[in-house]
């Protein structure tokens, strides 16, 4: 073993030893180290990719759920609007029908009352005419001083009754005109 000075640019036998040393290092690193590191990096990338995919899927699910919620909400709103509209229409119909029924009932009652009034008047007129005949006969008996047989003067009585009727008829016409004006 000597200490020697040689041209520093010229290689010597050390080159072969150095080459072998480098090849050993290269072999160990290439065979036992880098494959492991590569596998770990690939595995991590795979994990990250799958996690991202899962996150994407979850986001898509959430979006779909949100869209569904929106559509359901929209449908519910629409339905609610329809129900309210329907209710309003029904209420209008009911009101209109009730008004119509009330009007009809009112008219019916008024008509019935009118009819009753005219029947009562008729009856009163009948009664009055019947009594007027008797009163006329009694008055005439007193004036004439003797018994008058009603059958003997039926023509006169009828004439008087007709006169009374005519008077009552004009009354009735006047009453009818007043009823219509009401």
């Amino acid at each position: 073993m000597t200490i020697a000075t040689s041209n520093f640019l010229v290689p010597n036998g050390t080159l072969i030893v150095e080459l072998i040393a480098f090849l050993i290092v290269l072999g160990v690193i290439a065979k036992w180290v880098l494959p492991v590191l590569n596998a770990m990096m690939t595995e991590r990338q795979e994990q990250i990719r799958s996690e991202l995919a899962a996150a994407d899927a979850a986001k898509a699910d959430a979006d779909a759920a949100d869209a569904e919620r929106r559509s359901v909400l929209e449908a519910a709103r629409r339905q609610a609007r329809e129900i309210v509209d329907q209710a309003n229409r029904t209420a209008d119909q009911v009101t209109t029908a009730a008004q119509a029924r009330a009007q009809a009932e009112y008219e019916r009652i008024v008509q019935a009352a009118d009819a009753e009034v005219s029947v009562a008047r008729q009856a009163a007129v009948e009664q009055v005419t019947a009594q007027v005949g008797a009163i006329v006969v009694a008055a005439a008996e007193r004036v004439v001083g003797r018994e008058i047989r009603a059958s003997d003067h039926q023509d006169l009585i009828d004439e008087a009754v007709a006169a009374v009727r005519a008077g009552a008829g004009s009354d009735e016409a006047a009453a009818g005109a007043a009823g219509q004006g009401r």
């Binding site: 520093f8 010229v10 880098l34």
Partner: protein
């Protein structure tokens, strides 16, 4: 600086003469001259590199990586990116070579940080001896030529040297240029690394010799050496990193040129 030193100290002139390059502890084995200091430094660097690799192998996880694994992964993915970008998927096979070159050269270069600047340093960076850089660059260039032949075929390989870069009628000129270029590749690849590391070591030697400079009893040179030695070593770390990176990068680029169809 030599003038300052020699005027400052009569010993300085003779000491400066002691700074020499190419000194090695040598032994001749079977007719081969071996630089023993380089060999044991290389062995140490190899053991450190392999130990770093096996430590990684044991602790590697596909979960959150630690700083140590992250450093390895950074180197590996940087090489992957470079190879994918230049050569493409065919370059996958040279990734382990480039990564090993980078890590191993980096470890070798960092040995400069423990150097003292002595004439025979206990652990010099083995890359500061031409043998290791040249061994690696020759290995790389041989593989590059093998890859070129596999990629182009023998005919294409030969034709490539005759028809580029000038038209076919300048064939001899093309051949000359290409042969010079191919010969220059391993030499420049080796010398670039070797020169940077050798000069780094020389700088440490020069800084060590500053110690002899005294003014009266004040050790001016010693103080300067104390200041500049760590500064230079920090710089050396950067140089070591850059040179390791350049060696690996050029390896990839040489493969790229060899394997690309158009050149």
């Amino acid at each position: 600086m030599g003038a300052v030193l020699s005027s400052a100290h009569p010993l300085a002139t003779s000491l400066l003469a002691d700074i020499s390059v190419g000194d090695h502890i040598q032994r001749t084995v079977g007719g081969l001259q071996l630089n023993l200091d380089t060999i044991w430094a290389t062995a140490a660097a190899g053991i450190v590199t392999i130990a770093l690799g096996l430590m990684l192998r044991r602790s590697a996880t596909s979960g959150v990586p630690g700083k140590f694994q992250l450093a390895w992964e950074t180197a590996l993915s940087a090489v992957h990116t470079q190879v994918d970008g230049s050569i493409g998927p065919r370059g996958k096979r040279i990734v382990p070579l480039a990564v090993t070159l980078f890590v191993f050269i980096l470890v070798c270069n960092l040995f400069g940080v423990v150097g003292l600047g002595a004439t025979y340093d206990f652990l010099l960076p083995p890359t500061a001896d031409i043998n290791l850089p040249l061994a690696m660059s020759l290995f790389v260039i041989v593989l590059v030529h093998v890859a070129s032949i596999r990629s182009r075929g023998i005919g294409g390989y030969v034709k490539h040297y005759l028809t580029q870069p000038f038209p076919i009628f300048l064939m001899p000129f093309n051949l000359f240029i290409n042969v010079v270029e191919e010969l220059a590749k391993p030499i420049t690849l080796a010398l670039r690394l070797f020169g940077n590391l050798l000069s780094g070591g020389l700088m440490l030697s020069l800084l060590a010799y500053l110690v002899v400079w005294k003014i009266g009893v004040i050790p001016v040179g010693g103080i300067l050496a104390l200041v500049f030695n760590p500064v230079w070593k920090l710089f050396d770390v950067l140089i070591g990193l850059i040179q390791a990176f350049i060696f690996a990068l050029l390896t990839i680029l040489y493969f790229d040129v060899a394997m690309s169809d158009a050149h």
